[in-house]
């Protein structure tokens, strides 16, 4: 599997070249959110706002009212936790094209509970006019910018940074409102988002070798949540539906799928993998995924529970989880 570094940093510079209306705002995390290259390339379109996220979000609304497309970059928690009222009252109500790029989703950071965005999708899904995308690989990161710009209103993007795998062909862009189908099958339907997709892919081949037929969709648009392929996929599996998200199971992908199933009267079981209404703490990604049940083994266990039997999957059989050093060259800081 190809692993790329600083995908957003490169892509943003290249993409924004012919888009003078695009400006970038930073809250003192310029290297950490991969916008240092943008600052170097277009210094007159880069605004340093300091560690003052509430002003930054409202200020961005003012820029948007004057025809700019501000792209606010910081760690996700400092956007939706620090400045929720500003997102709602300055940006979302007026449907302004302020684009919020939130980094360090879920347990992707050893920074602990203050840095881990575990309920961002739940919170922002409840905000009218908000569009929400989540990236799961390098292709998603490279191709999310066009949909972000073409959406006329506010958009929140759950971003990945640093070393990112390429799971999807570079010439198959993220399509807003459409999931990516990774497998087709009839026994189980699996819906995953963000880094959970890569993790789930470690288990699905093993599960199919056990004779299970799996429908696997990678979700990139959390809101609006209206992909007809998802409705179709949740309606048909023999054993049930599994969602897997790097987020609390309250209000995120699992909840969105539950809402769709309940409203459409789909009589299937649903198993939600994610943070089970708990905060996490600081640690490596593999450690946290194991500890909080977000890894391939957790998926196998969920499948066993739904099909009602042990599948005898041994640990070595699941591809070794990618171990990342806490200190990576791709990161300015170890957060």
């Amino acid at each position: 599997m190809e692993v790329l570094t600083k995908v957003h940093a490169r892509r943003l510079v290249e993409w924004a070249r012919d888009k003078p209306q695009v400006v970038v705002l930073s809250a003192d995390l310029t290297s950490s959110t991969e916008i240092a290259e943008f600052r170097e390339a277009y210094p007159d379109r880069f605004f340093s706002m300091g560690i003052a996220e509430q002003n930054m979000v409202s200020f961005a609304a003012g820029l948007a009212r004057e025809g700019m497309v501000p792209m606010v970059h910081t760690f996700a928690v400092f956007i939706y936790r620090q400045a929720l009222n500003q997102i709602v009252s300055s940006v979302a109500y007026s449907n302004l094209p302020v684009k919020l790029f939130g980094f360090l989703p879920g347990i992707t950071t050893p920074g602990g509970a203050t840095h881990q965005a575990i309920e961002d999708i739940a919170v922002l899904r409840a905000v009218p006019n908000m569009t929400i995308f989540e990236t799961g690989d390098a292709t998603d990161i490279e191709t999310v910018l066009d949909p972000v710009l073409s959406d006329p209103g506010p958009v929140y993007v759950r971003m990945l940074r640093g070393e990112v795998p390429r799971l999807f062909p570079a010439d198959e862009p993220l399509v807003p409102g459409r999931s990516r189908r990774l497998r087709s099958g009839s026994d189980l339907t699996l819906l995953t988002a963000g880094i959970c997709t890569e993790e789930a892919m470690r288990a699905t081949a093993v599960l199919e070798a056990r004779g299970l037929s799996i429908e696997h969709l990678h979700v990139t648009t959390h809101k609006p949540f209206a992909d007809p392929a998802i409705l179709e996929a949740v309606a048909k599996p023999r054993f049930g539906v599994i969602t897997m998200e790097n987020h609390t199971i309250v209000g995120g992908l699992g909840s969105a799928v539950a809402e769709v199933m309940a409203e459409k009267g789909v009589p299937r079981r649903l198993h939600r993998i994610g943070l089970r209404d708990t905060f996490a703490h600081g640690g490596s990604r593999p450690y946290l995924m194991r500890k909080y049940g977000l890894d391939a083994r957790a998926l196998v266990e969920a499948v066993e529970e739904l099909v009602g039997r042990s599948l005898g999957v041994a640990e070595p059989e699941l591809e070794a989880v990618r171990i990342e050093p806490v200190h990576s060259l791709a990161k300015a800081e170890a957060l």
């Binding site: 007159d44 605004f47 706002m49 300091g50 003052a52 509430q54 002003n55 979000v57 409202s58 200020f59 961005a60 609304a61 003012g62 820029l63 948007a64 009212r65 004057e66 025809g67 700019m68 501000p70 009222n85 500003q86 709602v88 009252s89 300055s90 109500y93 007026s94 449907n95 009218p128 006019n129 006329p152 209103g153």
Partner: protein, 312 residues
């Protein structure tokens, strides 16, 4: 003429004073008719708004319907935002913009728009009526508003974003913001001042109604903001303190801009100005709801005797 009376008052100053009194009179009428309302804000801010509209700000004539249109829906997919900004005329590079932040001053702002000829008096009849844009807490679609100021402190940051965009375009027009002093208890206000100074937004002019009171009572008993002038200056903005009921003093600071520095005009005001009867409510002026028929009648008698009531 007596020597102590000083020079004759300029015509525009007389007009500002007359307009400020008219704002208070109309707000008083509204409060009497509706058994309550934001009356003290008219007392404190009457001269500030009148001076800004009649003397200080450069704006084109209103391009909005004299009687505000009914509420047509919130902004959303395929639904453009309805703005109340048309009452301030079309935007122009050399023209000023005006944003009132404390949206509970809406009644005073609507009344000011009426008294300066930007809105029809009938428009106020829709105040706080279901289906109306003339809302109690001014919203983006309400006359004279362009933003959701109801969550305090956000308007200043948004206006700063607008001012930066205008600066980059080379606009000569200024961005005026009206703030209440209570908003200096909000952290975001200081974040905004810090950014305004950092980006040298010298075409931003902020008028603050320093009436010293907030919902719970006296500000120095709720949460002290003094010394407000030196605090603002230490954040890199210019701050001047003026008598908020003196039109000449209110207008003067804007005639003397300093390159690179935003201006904050702190207007010391009396929350009972023009309606001394309000003193009985001290220190809680935020919203007047008559406690009894007798109290309402006492205000009506004052209106009749001292505010030219009854004859209108």
């Amino acid at each position: 003429m007596l020597a102590s009376s000083g020079p004759p008052e300029l015509t525009w100053v007389k007009e500002v004073r007359r307009t400020a009194d008219a704002i208070r009179r109309r707000v008083m009428e509204h409060v009497l008719a509706n058994d309550g309302g934001y009356l003290s804000q008219a007392c404190s801010a009457g001269e500030i708004l009148s001076t800004l509209y009649l003397r200080t700000m450069r704006m084109g004539p209103s391009v909005a319907p004299p009687v505000p249109p009914p509420f047509s829906g919130v902004p959303g997919r395929g639904v453009p935002a309805l703005s109340g900004g048309g009452y301030h005329g079309l935007p122009g590079a050399e023209l000023d913009r005006f944003f009132l932040s404390p949206a509970h001053y809406a009644l005073v702002l609507y009344t000011a728009l009426i008294e300066v000829g930007r809105m029809a008096p009938e428009g106020l009849e829709q105040f706080n009526k279901d289906g109306s844009t003339v809302e109690m807490i001014g919203a983006e679609h309400s006359p004279g508003f362009e933003m959701m100021g109801g969550a305090l402190a956000q308007t200043l940051s948004q206006a700063a974003g607008i001012a930066l965009a205008r600066k980059r375009r080379g606009d000569g027009g200024r961005v005026f913001v009206f703030l209440s002093d209570g908003e200096f208890q909000e952290g975001q206000t200081w974040e905004a001042l810090q950014a305004m100074a950092f980006y040298g937004l010298d075409r931003m002019i902020v008028y603050v109604d320093v009436n010293g009171h907030q919902c719970d009572g006296r500000m120095d008993e709720v949460m002290r903001i003094e010394p407000i002038q030196t605090r603002i200056e230490s954040f890199g903005c210019r701050a001047v303190m003026v008598d908020g009921h003196d039109p000449v003093a209110l207008d003067a600071p804007t005639r003397d801009p300093v390159a690179g520095r935003p201006l904050v005009v702190l207007c010391r005001t009396d929350p009972c100005h023009g309606i001394p009867l309000l003193e009985s409510r001290r220190p809680r002026f935020h919203y007047l709801r008559f406690a009894s028929v007798a109290e309402r009648e006492s205000f009506r008698r004052f209106y009749d005797a001292s505010m030219g009531g009854g004859g209108r």
